[in-house]
Each structure stands twice: as structure tokens, then as C-alpha cells.
């Protein structure tokens, strides 16, 4: 439970849209080298939590403390700064790749800030200086390493939009990882995958947690995935946190069974 120091602390997060309270006083902690699953029925406010963390929405109330080279208060930062400085990366519920660009280009765009610096804000790059070429080669090497991990090396020069669905999901994760984040937020990465792809995805997520050593926040509907790979589970319902704990505890929690799974106990034996 209380292993390492927290990576992100979400405190009293509340998000209101007009009269609708999409997220209502939610607090939880994400730790490095852990997968924290956020589950809950449709419309529970899971994606909204992500949107607050990654700066797409400004929370109505709440504090989002992200630890890194220093402490960042995410609710005060602009969207792109959160990726750039606080090093929080995310994927989207509906895949958002750059469809006309190739797989490799997608992974290079993710390394934009690093490369921009190396290219002297394009000046060195335009002049074709060595320094930039070396940086670009390093970026390509990183991209290639990720392509190997998601098994897409052969497709590197194809437009991302032409890939099959499962490959696009993996590519989006790889793209987020190419930003070299401390925290990775994944919004239903297994949605629409077949069982085999889903199993591969689990392996990938576990390796990201164990090999890359970063923290993962995972929104997931598939209970088998949650039970198998997450270290900690947060349950939302109607915007409120109704339970929190280790997967095994959550599985038995009556409040969760009532709210999230109806009264049908069967469904949680994934």
C-alpha cells in the first residue's frame, strides 16, 4: 500500500460543467512503478479526471501535485507545459494519432521539445549542423526501440492512419512513452482489442511499469486486466470516489458491487 513516495497527489478534485458535477471531491495518489487503475461505470467522470490532470480542463476545485525535478501544481499550468515540464503523458479514449504522418514521424513529433532545442530552434537544423544530426539519430534510435517493443518496425514508414486498430492503440502508447514521461495516463487502452491483443497489451503495460519504472494511471473497463496488472484501484461513480484499495479488496467491496457491477457478482470473476 504505502510503498514508494507518491508521484501524483490528487486532492479534492472537483469539475463542474454548468449544473453537472462530473467529478466530485475526488482524492487519490499515484506512485512510481505502480499501476493505479481508475474504474467506474460509463459517465462516472474518469476521463474528466484525466483531462484535469493533463490540463485540458481547468478544475473547479482541487489540487493536483505532481512530483518531478521539482513539485508542479498541474491545475495552474497550461496544457502543453504539463507534458513538457511536469512530464505527464497520456493517450485518448478515441485514438488521436497524426493519421497522415508515418508511424516513425508520430514518434518523432513526440520528441519535439528535445529536438527543437537540439536544432537551435531550427537554425542549426537549417544549416545542417552535426549537433542536430546526432540528436535526430538518437531520437530515431529511441523511436526504433519503441517500435521493436510494440512490434511495428516493419510498418515504420506507413501512414499511422492505415494501421489496424490494435496497432494504432499500441502506437499511441509508444508515442506517449517517447516523450519520456514520469507519469503515463492511459484512457481505456484495451477498448476494442481482441483477447490476444489485450494480453499483449498487459505485458506491455507491466513492462512499462517494471522496466521503465514510471507511474501509470489506467482507466479500464475490462476487469480481468484491472485485477491482473494493477497495484491499486480507485472506483468512481457519478463523479464520486466510492472505494479505493488493492484489487482483491475492491473485488469484494459491497459498495463497488452495488454501484459499478449492479448486484451481479458473476461479472467480476474475470
Amino acid at each position: 500500500m504505502n510503498g514508494t513516495a507518491p508521484l501524483i497527489e490528487v486532492e479534492h478534485l472537483t469539475m463542474r460543467f454548468g449544473g453537472l458535477i462530473a467529478v466530485d471531491d475526488v482524492s487519490f495518489i499515484g506512485r512510481p512503478q505502480e499501476i493505479t487503475a481508475i474504474i467506474g461505470p460509463n459517465g462516472a467522470g474518469k476521463t474528466t479526471v484525466f483531462n484535469c490532470i493533463t490540463g485540458f480542463y481547468r478544475p473547479t476545485v482541487g489540487r493536483l501535485l505532481m512530483r518531478g525535478d521539482r513539485d508542479y501544481l498541474l491545475e495552474r499550468m497550461l496544457g502543453h507545459e504539463i507534458g513538457q515540464r511536469a512530464r505527464v503523458a497520456r493517450t485518448f479514449q478515441n485514438i488521436r494519432l497524426f493519421p497522415a504522418m508515418t508511424v516513425l514521424e508520430n514518434l518523432l513529433v513526440a520528441q519535439h521539445n528535445k529536438l527543437m532545442l537540439a536544432s537551435g530552434y531550427s537554425v542549426f537544423g537549417l544549416l545542417g549542423l552535426k549537433r542536430y544530426r546526432a540528436a535526430e539519430e538518437a531520437a530515431i534510435a529511441l523511436a526504433r526501440a519503441w517500435l521493436e517493443r510494440i512490434d511495428l518496425v516493419a510498418a515504420a514508414d506507413r501512414p499511422a492512419g492505415e494501421l489496424p486498430y490494435g496497432a494504432q492503440r499500441r502506437l499511441e502508447i509508444a508515442r506517449a512513452m517517447c516523450t519520456e514521461p514520469r507519469l503515463l495516463c492511459l484512457d481505456e487502452p484495451a477498448a476494442g482489442l481482441n483477447p490476444r491483443e489485450s494480453a499483449e497489451l498487459n505485458q506491455l503495460l507491466v513492462s512499462i511499469r517494471d522496466r521503465d519504472g514510471i507511474g501509470v494511471l489506467l482507466i479500464e473497463h475490462d476487469m480481468s486486466v484491472v485485477m491482473n496488472i494493477s497495484n491499486h484501484v480507485v472506483v468512481l461513480d457519478y463523479g464520486r470516489k466510492i472505494a479505493e484499495g488493492a484489487p482483491a479488496e475492491i473485488q469484494r467491496d459491497p459498495a463497488v458491487i452495488r454501484a459499478y457491477l449492479g448486484t451481479d457478482d458473476e461479472a467480476i470473476d474475470g
Partner: protein
């Protein structure tokens, strides 16, 4: 007798009905000013309208036939229309001849399209096809460049052709400049001509009032235009795409109106004249040099000829256009260029990756503006007279049409589109009057039928596998 025929006939009749409702007042009654107190009377054009409606009936019928796969009747109808339009048969107006002929051509194209498409794809798969495809994608640019370089020395290079060449190249350059903004970064800029105007007025003012030469002012004009781009872009680039378009349109008009009304600086609607042309190593292109200067013919020891100036101007714009192109190609391979394209594809995803959208858009906007500034400077030096009339919204629209038609983001596409949109109407003077009408219709048709433009193929900015298998896709996109 095809059972679908009655439905098609009904459809064509309905189309005619709608067209008649559209045309009856606007086309049927042409208002003419007779000068009396009551004002207007009419020229009636019901015959033209009637002929046009008949054409529309058969055109629509032909399209339905083609769509249901009845190719041959459709082709026959199309050929009949072409014959009618091209025949010496007297139609009430020249426009109708064009209307019938073009309608027929479009119909024939539509009818043979599926078949032609297949044939092209099949042909591209054969070995010779592959070679031609390679030449098309790899060498077409070089071929065109070679042509452009030797053009002034060919026998066709008379005054008129050279003028046209200069005109086309100017639009090619503007198109390439705007392509950075629209094609790569996906920002619809409807006020591009404003930066062109800034460049033109910068040179006109600095040369006529402070005696600065073209080559000194050229970089200044580019920088000034780019600064304008940053200044205008900074507050508005956060806006959504379509709002941005309207705001840039507003900015374009504001700049034009300021030029029009700021008499002290710009001389208002009367414009600025006697702008000196560009010099070659300090020598001027004229029969006699002003005191203290040399003419080019003296310097080179050749007899004076008016065409020399034109050839010189031609090479300047060719050079400027090439610089634009090379710069763009390099930028595209740099992080900033990839970020432009990524922004065009998905701004939200860019933000999630830590890319600052405003700054990235701003660079695209400024670089685009800079090239417009260069082109504007050149325009002033070539024309030797500028006035606000040259910088209206229509000009922005023409440049945009070139980019859209060419295929947003495609460099070669811009060239082809510029030749098509600027060159053709100049060659066929008849068409001149209908040029803007045709532009407008072409923009709609492109969006409907070929939203990726003439050249829809995108070459990756970088490859992991150097000799990647290059699958030949559908015919036109090679």
C-alpha cells in the same frame, strides 16, 4: 429501355426546375441603366436561360446515367454536348458555347472515370508503368525546373510569354509561401495578401523616398512582413480554425483600408509610381542610365533590348521561388516542420505531447508572411507602380485556390495549379471574364470530388527503411 430511366428523367427535370428558379430573375432579366429618372429597364435573356436549362437537363441526365453504370449513353451525350458547343451553330452568347463544351467534357470524364482509374492503376503496376510513376514522382520537379531555366532561351520567349512566365512564377512563389501556412500547418489564412502588400509598400516607400535599392530592401521587407505576421498572429492563433480564417480576412481588409486611407504615407488610392526596378551589380536596366550609374548593356557590352529586363526579372522570381521551395522542404524535415503537420492533423494530441501550439503556429504564420513580403517587394519592383487595388481579398482567394487545387502540402501541385489557374485564362483571353467564376466553382468541385487536390500524395519527411516498398496506389495520386 432501362427501368431506371423514368427516375433519372424525373431527377433531371427537378434539377431543371431548381435551376430555372435560380436563373429566372437573375439571368432572365438583365437590368440596364437607361439613364431616365425611373432608372432601369431590362434586357431579356430568356433564350440563354432556356438553352442553359436544356444543357442542364442533359448534363444531369448524363451524370445519372454514368452513376448507374450506363457508360456509353453518358459518353454519347457528353460528346454530343461537346459537338454542339464547338460547332459553328450560333448560340445566344459566347458563354453558352463554353458552358455546353465544358459540360460535355466533364460529363465524358465522369463517365469514363471508373474505367480510366482502373486502367491507370493497372498500367502503373506494369514494369514500364512503375518507371513512369517513378519519373512522375521523382523527376517531374527537376524536369519542370529545367524547363523553367531554359525557357528564356527558347524561341517562344517573346514579350508575352515571358510576362506570363513571370506572372505564373510569382503565383507559384505565393502559393508555396501560403502552402506553409495552409498546407503544412493547416491554418486557413484568408488575409495572406496583406503581407504581400506590406512587402510591396516597404520596397515602394524605401526606394522612392530613401533611395534604397531592391537587394537591400528585399530582406528588410521579408522581415517586416514576418514581424507583421507575428504581431497579428499572436493574439489570434489560439482561435479555432474557422474563426482564425475570418479574423485573418478581417486583418487583411484592415491593412488594405489603412493603406487606402493613410494618404500621407501611401498616397491613398492613387498609389505609388516610378518605383525603381532591381539592379544587376548596381547596373540598371534602361536605355540610358541616370547620372552616376551604368546600364546593364554598357556593363556587358551588348546592345540594349527591352527583353533583357524581362529576362532578368524572370530569373529573379525563379530564384526567389526556388528559395521558398528549398527552405520549405528543409523545414519540413526539421522538428518544427513535423510539428506543423502534426498540428494540422490533431492539435489536441500535440498539446498532450507537450508541443506549444501557439508558438508553432506562429512560426508557420511568420515564415509564410516572410515569403509573401519577399514576393511583394519583387512585385513592386517589377510593376514599378502599386496601389491598394492589387491587394484585395480576391488576390488572397486566388492564392488559396492555387494551394487547394494543387493539393494542400504538395509543392509540385502548387506549380501545376498555378499554371492551370493563372496560365490558362491568360492564354485563352476569352476565358478571362469567367476566370473568377471558374475559380469559385473549381474550389467547390475540388472539395467535393478530390479534397486532397490534384497531387494528394504525401512524401514522408523521413524514412526508417531507406528503400521502402513503395506500393503504387490509385492512379492520380502518384
Amino acid at each position: 429501355m432501362d427501368p431506371r430511366l423514368p427516375r433519372m428523367l424525373k431527377d433531371a427535370a427537378l434539377t431543371v426546375l431548381v435551376a430555372a428558379a435560380l436563373g429566372i430573375f437573375i439571368v432572365g432579366f438583365r437590368t440596364v441603366d437607361v439613364g431616365s429618372r425611373t432608372g432601369l429597364s431590362f434586357d431579356y435573356h430568356f433564350v440563354d436561360l432556356g438553352v442553359a436549362l436544356i444543357v442542364i437537363f442533359f448534363g444531369r441526365l448524363g451524370l445519372s446515367l454514368a452513376a448507374t453504370g450506363l457508360r456509353w449513353p453518358a459518353i454519347a451525350l457528353g460528346i454530343a454536348m461537346i459537338a454542339a458547343g464547338a460547332s459553328p451553330m450560333k448560340l445566344p452568347s459566347g458563354f453558352l458555347h463554353w458552358f455546353v463544351t465544358l459540360g460535355g467534357v466533364l460529363l465524358v470524364i465522369r463517365a469514363i472515370w471508373p474505367w480510366a482509374d482502373q486502367a491507370i492503376v493497372a498500367a502503373a503496376r506494369t514494369p514500364t508503368g512503375r518507371v513512369i510513376d517513378q519519373i512522375g514522382t521523382r523527376w517531374l520537379g527537376w524536369l519542370l525546373l529545367g524547363l523553367a531555366i531554359v525557357m528564356p532561351f527558347t524561341p517562344f520567349a517573346d514579350q508575352k510569354t515571358m510576362d506570363l512566365g513571370v506572372l505564373i512564377l510569382t503565383y507559384v512563389m505565393l502559393g508555396w509561401g501560403l502552402n506553409i501556412v495552409v498546407g503544412l500547418a493547416g491554418l486557413l489564412d484568408l488575409g495572406y495578401v496583406a503581407f504581400y502588400a506590406v512587402g510591396a509598400y516597404t520596397y515602394a516607400l524605401l526606394s522612392t523616398q530613401h533611395g534604397l535599392g531592391f537587394w537591400v530592401v528585399l530582406p528588410l521587407a521579408g522581415m517586416l512582413a514576418a514581424s507583421f505576421g507575428v504581431l497579428l498572429g499572436f493574439p489570434v492563433l489560439r482561435l479555432r480554425g474557422d474563426y482564425l480564417a475570418i479574423v485573418t480576412l478581417g486583418f487583411g481588409e484592415i491593412i488594405r483600408l489603412v493603406i487606402l486611407n493613410w494618404f500621407d504615407l501611401t498616397n491613398g488610392p492613387a498609389g505609388i509610381g516610378s518605383i525603381p526596378g532591381p539592379t544587376l551589380f548596381g547596373a540598371v536596366f534602361a536605355e540610358t542610365a541616370p547620372p552616376g550609374k551604368q546600364t546593364v548593356s554598357e556593363m556587358l557590352g551588348i546592345p540594349f533590348h527591352g527583353i533583357h529586363r524581362l529576362i532578368f526579372l524572370y530569373y529573379i522570381i525563379l530564384l526567389l521561388a526556388l528559395i521558398t521551395n528549398i527552405f520549405t522542404q528543409r523545414m519540413r524535415r526539421l522538428p518544427v516542420g513535423r510539428a506543423w503537420e502534426a498540428l494540422r492533423e490533431d492539435e489536441t494530441a500535440c498539446k498532450a505531447l507537450g508541443i506549444n501550439p501557439t508558438n508553432t503556429k506562429l512560426t508557420a504564420f511568420a515564415v509564410g508572411a516572410m515569403f509573401a513580403g519577399f514576393a511583394g517587394s519583387y512585385f513592386a519592383a517589377k510593376q514599378r507602380f502599386i496601389s491598394p487595388e492589387s491587394f484585395t481579398f480576391i488576390e488572397s482567394a486566388i492564392i488559396l485556390a492555387i494551394v487547394v487545387l494543387g493539393g494542400m502540402g504538395s509543392q509540385i501541385g502548387v506549380v501545376l495549379a498555378a499554371v492551370l489557374l493563372i496560365g490558362l485564362p491568360e492564354w485563352f483571353r476569352d476565358l478571362g471574364n469567367y476566370r473568377m467564376l471558374a475559380f469559385g466553382i473549381a474550389m467547390v468541385l475540388i472539395m467535393v470530388f478530390r479534397p486532397r487536390g490534384l497531387i494528394g500524395h504525401r512524401e514522408p519527411s523521413i524514412r526508417l527503411h531507406p528503400v521502402a516498398p513503395h506500393p503504387v496506389k490509385s492512379g492520380g495520386s502518384g
